[in-house]
């Protein structure tokens, strides 16, 4: 059976892959955004001083 055509299991396996990658992606980009926000805020403060 090809991996892309497992019959009824297809949906479940690929959904799992999808949500797992989504979660990993979200986790990292959330951390990245937090970091960017803080750095932005600090730069602004430095400039206004």
């Amino acid at each position: 059976m090809s991996i892309f055509d497992m019959g009824e299991y297809n949906f479940y396996v690929w959904t799992s892959v999808f949500i797992s990658s989504l979660a990993l992606f979200l986790a990292y980009y959330d951390a990245l955004r937090k970091h960017k926000d803080v750095v932005e805020m600090i730069k602004n403060r430095n400039q206004t001083e």
Partner: protein, 242 residues
Amino acid sequence: MGLKAIYKYGSPPNFYRFVTRLEPWCLYFGLLLILIGSAGGLFIAPEDYQMGDAFRIIYFHVPSAYLSMSAYAAMGFASIIGIVWRSNVAFSVAKSIAPFGALMTTIALLTGMLWGKPMWGTAWVWDARLTSEFILLLLYLGYITLHASIREQKKADRSASLVAILGIINLPIIHYSVVWWNTLHQASTISKLDSPSIVGEMLWPLLVMITGYMFFFVAVICRASSAEVLKREKRSNWVKEI
């Protein structure tokens, strides 16, 4: 590493520098491992004799479950360090772990449900392991909410840490739930003492995935805790030089 090294990295500027340098390595290495593991698990590993292709979910379910527990252990440990040494850095790390851990727990539960539905006919059952993993999710959420509800920083840290530390007791319950009780969830296939009850070609992608997830976890924590440390120290001198 001597105690001195811990003190050295315990100070915010050193921590920040260390963590910022560490992160890219962990990130790329982790992603690489995850890619390799996924390829191995999805394409190379042979079909399971009992479960057909659906078992491939294991390559995503197990790493997230494993990580949900280790992240909580790390969070508890960081909380203890934070309380004992009154370390802002430790509390930052603990606070950063929580959302990631909660996400991992949710994924573990969801992939578990996606596996359970076609495999055993039911998406959920209140057996010992599933229930205790659900409890873990609640613990994470409680931690995050508590931290967010208390306005004063130090108080929030310490109160939330208490919850984190109390919750550590749940970890052995989750781990041994399949040993102590009759559960729908299957018993461990990998243990420290016995040889694994799973064949080589199926095993290596799993190990690679778990390792990849761990490195990725470290990378995310690096980024998140460095942001948190920056935020807490925003008035001090070393921050101005970033």
